[in-house]
C-alpha cells in the first residue's frame, strides 16, 4: 500500500468524481490550511523549516474522538494527540517509513522506525485521504523527489460532484413549484374558476338581507299593524286591506326577483365549479406525469451504486405513490388553499363592513385554530413520513418476493413471507394510526370551535338586535355568511393533512432528485469518434466506501486483444470491468481508451462502443426482436436475424411459436438460461462494439450449453478488444493474455502456458479446478484449452 504513488485530494469523495486540484508547490500546502490551523502549525515550525503535509487524526489511542495533529516538515515529524497534549517530535532520520492503512471505517497511520513502531495514529476513514497524502509526502521526501514533481498527474476536467443536500422539510414543498410552473396558466385559470365559483356562492346569503329586511319584515309588520289597529271602520279596513294586498303583490314580485337571482347565482356557482374541477383534474394528471418522468429520467442517470443500496420496492413507491400525493397537493389542495385564503379575507371584509362587533365575535376562535395548526403541523409531517416509509417497506417486500418466488417456494418459506408482509402491514397500521389520531382530533376540534363561534355570534347578535343596533336581516345575512366562513376554515384545516403528506412525499422524492448522477458528464466533452479499442488502465485505484477494491492496477490492452481476468471471488474483477464501462469513476488513476481519458467522453457516446454480456442475462418485457435490438432500436430485421444467427440463437427462436415476435417476460421465464444468454450475445453483437465485456458469460450454464454459447462468443470476440471474466478457466482458452487479480492488485500477467509453467497463483487456481473437474468428471480442459507448447515443460494436462 505504501508503494502506491497516489495522492489526490479526492479520496474522501471517491463517488463524486475527481476533485479539481493539481498538486502544487509545497509552500502552498500552508496556504491551503484553514486560518486557525495555519497559525497553530506555523507556531510549531522552527526557522527555515518548511511544511510538507498536515494530517489531523480524529481519534485518540483509545479510539475516542479527539482533535489530533500530525505535521510533516522537511526535518521532523511532529504530532500531538489533542490540542492540550504535549507535542512529540521525531527527526526524520529516525523515521523509516509511514504506513497508512484503513479497514472497515477505521484508519491507522503508523510511523515505523528501523526496528520499532514509533507511534500509531487512529482516524476515521473520512480522514484517510489526508493520512495517505502525508504518507506519500514522506515517501517523496525519503526518495528525494521534488515536491509534486514526478507525481503530478494529468488533470482531467471533470466537475466536482455535488453532495446530496438534505432539504428542510417545509422548504421541499416550495421546491415543488418548479413542476407547477409549466402549467401555471392552467393553474391560474383553475384558481380564477374556483374564485368565481365561490364568489357566486357568496351572493345568495347577501340576498337574504334585503329579502328579510326590505320585503318580508315590512310586510309582516304592516299585516300586524292592520290586524292590531282597533276601532277601524269597515271601509277604512277594506281600504287598508287593499293597499296591503297591493303591497303584497309588489312584495311577491320582489321575492320572485330575489329568488331568481338566488337561483342564477347557484347555477353560476355550479357551472364554475364544474369547469374548475375539470381544469384542475387535467392539470393534475399532467403535473403528476411530469413528476414521474423527471424522477424516472433522473433515476436512470444514477450510479449502479445507488441502485445497490436502495430497495426496488422503495424506489417504486417513491415514483408511484409519492408523486401521486404531490400531484394531488399541487393541483387540488394548493388551489383550494389559495382560494380559501382569498375567500376568508373577502368574507372578513364583508363581515366587518356589515357590523364590526359581530365580525370580531366571528373571528374570536381564529387564533385558537391557528395555534392548533402550527402545533400539529410538524408532528403530522413526521407521522406521514413515517407512514410513507412503512408503505415503501411493504412494497419492498413485494418487489423482493415476487421475483424471488421460486426461492421462497423451494425453501417452503411462504408462511414466513406472509408473516413478514403482515408485520410490515402492521407497521403501516401503527404509523397511520398515530397520524390518524392526530388529524381526526384536529378537524372535529376545528368544527367544535366554529360551533362555539356561531354561539357567540348568536348571543352578541341577539343582544344587538334587542338593543336596536342591527336589524334581523343583518343578523340573518351574517349567520349565512359565517356558515360559509367557517366551512372554509374547516376545509383549510383538512388541507393541513394533505399538505403535510405532500411535504413528506416531496422530501422523499427530492432525496432522489438531489442525488447527483453517478458519473458526471464532462464539461468539455470529446467525441470518441471511431473507437479502435485500445484500453489502458493507468495506475487505477477504486475504493468503495472504506474498502479499497482496486489498488494501483496498470494494464495496457491493444486493439483487438482478448484479456482474461482471473481471480478468486472478490478479487475486483467485476469492479475493474465496471470502471472500464464507466459505471463508476476511478478514485485514482485513469482509464484511457485510444489514449483519451474516458471521463472526457460523453457517457452514452462512449458506452455505445461497449458490448456487454453478463452472467445473468436480463431480458426486458417485449418481443425477442425488441430484446435483440435493445441497443439499436432502429436495426433492420436483416441485422437482427444476422446477429441472432451469429449468436447461434436463430434456430431456437424459429422453434418458438411466434418466432422473433414471441414475447419474453420480465426475466424471460419461458426461455432456458442458455437461450437467454444467446439472446444477450446477439444483443451485444448487434451494436457492433469495439470493446466487449464478458462478465462470467458462461458460468451459469451447463457444459453442453456452454459449448454452444462458446461458439456464439467466439463469433462475438473476433476483431474486438475483449475483457472476459471467468471462473471456469477453460472459458478463457482464446484469451491472448491472462491477468490474475488478487485483492484488487495484479499478481500475474501472461499467456496460459507461460503462467502455468511459472507455477504461480494462476497455476494453483488451474490445478485446483482440474482436480475439481476430474472429481466431477465434467471438466473438459483437454478439449477446450490449447495444448501446452511442446517446447515448454508444462505437461500438466
Amino acid at each position: 500500500m505504501l508503494d502506491r504513488t497516489s495522492s489526490t485530494a479526492a479520496k474522501n469523495l471517491p463517488r463524486w468524481g475527481q476533485k479539481q486540484r493539481t498538486l502544487t508547490e509545497f509552500d502552498t500546502t500552508c496556504n491551503q490550511l484553514s486560518e486557525p490551523l495555519r497559525g497553530i502549525v506555523q507556531a510549531l515550525l522552527t526557522p527555515g523549516e518548511s511544511l510538507r503535509a498536515v494530517f489531523q487524526p480524529d481519534l485518540d489511542g483509545r479510539l475516542k474522538y479527539s482533535d489530533g495533529l500530525v505535521v510533516l516538515t522537511d526535518r521532523r515529524l511532529l504530532a500531538r494527540e489533542s490540542p492540550d497534549a504535549k507535542l512529540v517530535a521525531w527527526p526524520l532520520a529516525q523515521v523509516e517509513r509511514l504506513l497508512a492503512r484503513d479497514r472497515g471505517g477505521l484508519g491507522t497511520l503508523e510511523a515505523l522506525g528501523t526496528n520499532t513502531r514509533l507511534h500509531c495514529w487512529y482516524h476515521t476513514v473520512s480522514r484517510a485521504g489526508a493520512a495517505r497524502d502525508l504518507a506519500d509526502a514522506f515517501q517523496r521526501l525519503a526518495t528525494g523527489q521534488g515536491p509534486g514533481g514526478a507525481n503530478a498527474r494529468e488533470e482531467v476536467l471533470v466537475p466536482e460532484g455535488e453532495k446530496p443536500a438534505t432539504p428542510a422539510n417545509v422548504r421541499s414543498i416550495f421546491r415543488l413549484f418548479r413542476f407547477a410552473r409549466a402549467h401555471i396558466a392552467a393553474l391560474v385559470l383553475g384558481l380564477l374558476l374556483t374564485l368565481g365559483s365561490t364568489a357566486a356562492g357568496l351572493v345568495p346569503p347577501y340576498l337574504t338581507w334585503p329579502l328579510v329586511d326590505k320585503v318580508l319584515e315590512p310586510y309582516q309588520d304592516h299585516v300586524k299593524q292592520v290586524r292590531a289597529t282597533p276601532g277601524m271602520s269597515d271601509r277604512e279596513h277594506a281600504a287598508r286591506m287593499r293597499s296591503l294586498e297591493q303591497e303584497g303583490q309588489v312584495g311577491l314580485h320582489r321575492v320572485g326577483f330575489y329568488l331568481l337571482a338566488f337561483a342564477a347565482a347557484s347555477l353560476l356557482a355550479w357551472a364554475f365549479g364544474w369547469a374548475q374541477g375539470w381544469v384542475l383534474a387535467r392539470v393534475s394528471e399532467r403535473i403528476s406525469a411530469d413528476l414521474r418522468d423527471t424522477t424516472y429520467a433522473h433515476l436512470q442517470k444514477l450510479s449502479l451504486e445507488f441502485f445497490g443500496t436502495k430497495r426496488t420496492g422503495d424506489l417504486v413507491a417513491r415514483i408511484s405513490s409519492d408523486t401521486d400525493r404531490i400531484c394531488s397537493f399541487l393541483s387540488d389542495t394548493l388551489v383550494d388553499f389559495i382560494a380559501d385564503v382569498l375567500m376568508i379575507m373577502g368574507t372578513a371584509v364583508v363581515l366587518i363592513s356589515i357590523d364590526p362587533i359581530l365580525a370580531a365575535a366571528t373571528l374570536c376562535t381564529f387564533p385558537i385554530i391557528a395555534w392548533l395548526t402550527v402545533h400539529l403541523r410538524d408532528r403530522l409531517t413526521h407521522g406521514f413520513l413515517h407512514g410513507s416509509r412503512a408503505w415503501a417497506e411493504m412494497t419492498s417486500i413485494l418487489a423482493d418476493t415476487v421475483p424471488g418466488i421460486r426461492v421462497v417456494k423451494a425453501f417452503a418459506q411462504e408462511k414466513r413471507e406472509v408473516e413478514r408482509f403482515k408485520a410490515s402491514n402492521r407497521r403501516i397500521i401503527a404509523a397511520n394510526d398515530r397520524v390518524n389520531k392526530l388529524w381526526t382530533f384536529f378537524w372535529p376540534a376545528v368544527a367544535l370551535l366554529t360551533q362555539i363561534g356561531l354561539l357567540v355570534v348568536w348571543a352578541i347578535g341577539a343582544w344587538e338586535v334587542f338593543s336596536g343596533r342591527i336589524t334581523v336581516g343583518v343578523l340573518v345575512a351574517f349567520l349565512a355568511y359565517i356558515g360559509r366562513f367557517y366551512a372554509r376554515l374547516e376545509s383549510m384545516s383538512r388541507m393541513l393533512s394533505s399538505t403535510q403528506r405532500a411535504a413528506a412525499s416531496s422530501q422523499r422524492l427530492f432525496e432522489i432528485l438531489d442525488r447527483p448522477p453517478g458519473v458526471p458528464e464532462p464539461v468539455h466533452p470529446t467525441d470518441p469518434g471511431k473507437v479502435r479499442g485500445g484500453i489502458e488502465l493507468r495506475d487505477v485505484s477504486f475504493r468503495f466506501g472504506s474498502r479499497q477494491v482496486i489498488d494501483g492496477v496498470s494494464v495496457e490492452v491493444k486493439p483487438g486483444e482478448m484479456i482474461g481476468l482471473v481471480g478468486t471471488t472478490g478479487a475486483g474483477k467485476s469492479t475493474l470491468v465496471n470502471l472500464v464501462c464507466r459505471f463508476y469513476d476511478v478514485s485514482e488513476g485513469a482509464v484511457l481508451v485510444d489514449g483519451t481519458d474516458i471521463r472526457s467522453f460523453p457517457i452514452s457516446e462512449y458506452r455505445r462502443h461497449i458490448g456487454i454480456v453478463l452472467q445473468d442475462p436480463f431480458l426486458f418485457w417485449g418481443t425477442i426482436a425488441e430484446n435483440i435490438a435493445y441497443g439499436k432500436p432502429e436495426a433492420a430485421r436483416a441485422e437482427i436475424v444476422a446477429a441472432a444467427r451469429a449468436a447461434r440463437a436463430h434456430e431456437f427462436i424459429l422453434q418458438l411459436s411466434d418466432g422473433y415476435d414471441s414475447m419474453v417476460g420480465e426475466r424471460g421465464h419461458t426461455l432456458s438460461g442458455g437461450e437467454r444468454q444467446r439472446i444477450s450475445i446477439a444483443r451485444a453483437l448487434l451494436i457492433n462494439p469495439s470493446i466487449l465485456i464478458l462478465d462470467e458469460a458462461t458460468s451459469s450454464v451447463d457444459t453442453q450449453t456452454e459449448r454452444e454459447i462458446q461458439e456464439a462468443l467466439d463469433n462475438l470476440v473476433r476483431g474486438r478488444t475483449t475483457i472476459a471474466i471467468a471462473h471456469r478457466l477453460s472459458t478463457l482458452h482464446k484469451a491472448d493474455r491472462l491477468v490474475v487479480l488478487e485483492h484488487g492488485r495484479i499478481v500475474e500477467m501472461g499467456q496460459h502456458a507461460d503462467l502455468l509453467s511459472a507455477g504461480g497463483r494462476y497455476a494453483q487456481l488451474y490445478q485446483a479446478q482440474m482436480l475439481l473437474g476430474q472429481a466431477r468428471g465434467s471438466f473438459e480442459a483437454p478439449r477446450e484449452l490449447p495444448p501446452p507448447r511442446p517446447d515448454r515443460s508444462g505437461g500438466v494436462v
Binding site: 426482436a625 430485421r637 436475424v641 434456430e651 424459429l654 422453434q655 411459436s657 411466434d658 422473433y660 415476435d661
Partner: protein
C-alpha cells in the same frame, strides 16, 4: 441468402405422403420441410425460414417475391395450413371467474369460447390490433379494435 435468380429456381412439392419436399437451387433435396415465419406478426410474409424436422434451418427467404408463382402459392397455402390463429370478429361476453375469465367469441373460424388466464395474455399489436393468448397457448388475433362493435370494444377496453 436471397439471390433473386437462384430463388426463382427453388422448388417445392408434396411427395406421396403429403410431405413438403424442398429442392434448393443447388439441387439439394430435403423431405418433410417445415416453413416457419420468423416474424409472424410484424412481417408475416417476409423472413420465411424453411427448416428440416430437427429444426435446422435449410434456407431463409427474406421475401417471397422472387419465387416462381406456383411455388409461392404452395408455400403460402402450406403456411396457412400450419397456423391456427383465429381472428376474433366479435366478443359476445366474458364471464369473470376467480383469476381467469371465460371468453365467448365469434371468430372467422366459427364461435368459440376460451379461458384467459390473466390480463397479461392480451397485448396490443401495432396501432390498432390485439393478440390474445388463451390458457392453452392458442392465439387469437383482433385485426382492428376500432372495427369491432361497441360491446366488444367495451369489453376489450377493460383489458387493454
Amino acid at each position: 441468402m436471397n439471390d433473386k435468380a437462384s430463388v426463382a429456381s427453388l422448388r417445392l412439392y408434396y411427395d406421396a405422403f403429403g410431405h413438403l419436399v424442398l429442392v434448393t437451387p443447388d439441387g439439394q433435396t430435403t423431405t418433410d420441410v417445415v416453413p416457419v415465419r420468423a416474424f409472424p406478426f410484424s412481417t408475416p410474409d417476409q423472413w420465411i425460414s424453411l427448416c428440416d424436422q430437427s429444426g435446422r434451418e435449410i434456407l431463409c427467404l427474406t421475401d417471397l417475391d422472387g419465387l416462381a408463382p406456383e411455388t409461392r402459392t404452395l408455400l403460402q397455402a402450406e403456411l396457412a395450413q400450419r397456423e391456427f390463429i383465429p381472428h376474433i370478429l366479435r366478443i359476445l361476453r366474458v364471464v369473470e371467474g376467480g383469476g381467469s375469465d371465460q371468453w365467448f367469441v365469434t371468430t372467422d373460424r366459427g364461435d368459440d369460447s376460451f379461458e384467459l388466464p390473466g390480463e397479461d395474455n392480451i397485448r396490443r399489436m401495432g396501432d390498432d390490433g390485439a393478440l390474445i393468448i388463451d390458457a392453452h397457448g392458442i392465439r387469437y388475433r383482433i385485426a382492428s379494435v376500432q372495427k369491432l362493435d361497441a360491446l366488444s370494444r367495451r369489453i376489450l377496453r377493460q383489458y387493454l
